[in-house]
């Protein structure tokens, strides 16, 4: 029996979809069977980030309303043989097209087949949020080190506490700029975690490659040397129960040959 995890944030644009795609891909790379569910109905883009947008035949609303069977609607990601699937959102209807019970039914049908069901929640705390949370066992609250995102995360954690899931929500801090955090102009990780009062699942550094890779439909975790990808891989390992230390904020000193050569000139 797999676990259903909703990825939510309250605020839009903090990287829920990117996080869903990357954690899902990272888990698939670890050999887990993963199904990604896009619940951002009307504005779907998890499929685009994964590069699967051209293969959608049916969507979640078709399944909920009985126009298609669940296996028909699932889109398989061929890069990971049988590991990664996507249940796409509908585009031509709105969030009220689904009811929480329908979502729960679909999630319950998926859970025995997969190790993880990751639910990509839409922004906001209305019907779409309620739908996304209804079937989940656990939640990942995504925020960025900005006051508005942290406030919204606080609101969402409050809502999740009022209707508790099986597991307590965990925090993922996205888009961390090392230099800004180092010089203190960005909210500190400890500060955010302490304020929200929930367990920290991971931190992801801001990286240009996140944008370029998602434009190419290939999640950043697939790049082995990318710090953002590394962050997502660490998150996936922590979800699997491993103990992985947080990545260091301090940028590592460049000790390459040319750096040493140039440092000679700086010395004087």
């Amino acid at each position: 029996m797999g676990k259903a995890i909703v990825i939510t944030s309250g605020k839009g644009g903090v990287g829920k979809t990117t996080t869903s795609a990357n954690i899902g891909t990272a888990l698939a790379l670890m050999g887990k069977r993963v199904c990604l569910m896009d619940l951002d109905i009307g504005l779907r883009n998890l499929d685009v980030v994964l590069g699967l947008d051209n293969r959608i035949i049916y969507d979640i609303v078709d399944v909920a309303e009985g126009r298609a069977k669940l296996p028909q609607a699932l889109v398989k990601d061929k890069r990971f043989d049988d590991k990664l699937y996507l249940l796409p959102a509908a585009q031509n209807t709105d969030k009220t097209a689904l009811m929480p019970e329908q979502v729960k039914e679909i999630v319950d049908e998926l859970k025995p087949e997969y190790d993880y069901v990751l639910i990509d929640c839409p922004a906001g705390i209305e019907q779409g949020f309620i739908n996304a949370v209804s079937g989940a066992d656990a939640a990942i609250v995504v925020t960025t080190p900005e006051i508005s995102a942290v406030r919204d995360a606080d609101r969402v954690v409050g809502l999740l506490e009022q209707h508790p899931l099986t597991e307590a929500p965990r925090l993922l801090i996205n888009r961390i700029r090392r230099n800004m955090m180092q010089d203190g102009s960005m909210m500190d990780i400890d500060e955010i975690t302490h304020h929200l009062g929930i367990e920290l699942l991971g931190i992801i550094f801001d990286d240009d490659a996140v944008i370029t890779t998602s434009n190419q439909g290939e999640p950043v975790v697939m790049q082995t040397d990318n710090p953002a990808g590394q962050g997502y891989r660490n998150v996936a390992r922590r979800l699997e129960g491993e103990t992985v230390p947080l990545m260091k904020i301090e940028e590592q000193e460049d000790t390459g040959f040319w750096h040493r050569v140039s440092s000679w000139f700086h010395r004087g």
């Binding site: 406030r151 919204d152 606080d154 609101r155 954690v157 409050g158 809502l159 304020h195 009062g197």
Partner: protein, 223 residues
């Protein structure tokens, strides 16, 4: 034995309705009593007589009360000041306890959440920005408050808010509110927010409590 007895006290007249008698019996006796007094020449001397109706350990329903009131209303010399019993319903008692007790509250009130309480609250938790704690009584805060505190809801301006209020967003007492500016409120656990005689929310120190609210000061044992 008479089911309705008139008793003179220092403060006036008590009309005692015996708890052992039925209401019908009481009404019969009450009528006889009032008829007697109507013709009693001695009683004529006094002007209008105000009665405190005591029902002993019996709680009258609204309908029963109105039957007694109607009966007394037939005699213009008498009027009912109040109807009182020695007992109260459990629901009323619970409400009273709610109102009189200091409630401990130790939780995190997050952005968008509102916790509504009755009576005085000793707050030991955390209020995040955008969270709100509201009560009918006083608030004694020992927690971290970055949200809104409201005491004396909805209209009791005699209530106070004590504790460190510097980091709060707003303080409200009854209908008065103040947006906290760091300059106006010091970083101190000793701050008292209250509504002054001009109905303006202002701040003082715990040491001035006697002056700010003598009633509460006496109640908590100050001399």
């Amino acid at each position: 034995m008479q089911a309705a007895v008139l008793r003179g006290t220092q403060n006036g007249y008590d009309l005692v309705l015996k708890q052992s008698a039925s209401l019908d019996q009481i009404l019969v006796d009450l009528k006889a009593l009032l008829e007697n007094l109507k013709v009693d020449p001695q009683a004529l001397a006094a002007s209008k007589i105000s009665l405190d109706v005591l029902t002993e350990d019996r709680i009258l329903t609204a309908e029963e009360k109105s039957r007694i009131e109607q009966m007394v209303a037939q005699y213009p010399r008498f009027e009912i000041h109040k109807i009182a019993a020695n007992v109260m319903t459990i629901a009323d008692a619970i409400q009273l306890r709610e109102r009189e007790n200091v409630h401990l509250l130790s939780k995190v009130i997050r952005n968008g959440q509102e916790v509504v309480m009755k009576g005085d609250v000793l707050f030991l938790g955390t209020i995040h920005e955008g969270g709100k704690l509201r009560t009918t009584g006083n608030i004694f805060s020992m927690g971290d408050v970055a949200g809104i505190l409201q005491a004396g809801y909805p209209d009791d301006e005699s209530k106070l808010i004590m504790g460190n209020l510097q980091t709060a967003q707003q303080v409200r007492i009854a209908e008065q509110f103040d947006i906290i500016e760091p300059e106006t409120v010091t970083d101190s656990q000793q701050t008292v927010a209250y509504v002054n005689d001009l109905h303006v929310l202002s701040y003082g120190k715990l040491a001035q409590l006697k002056k700010i609210n003598p009633k509460l000061y006496n109640q908590i044992g100050g001399i």
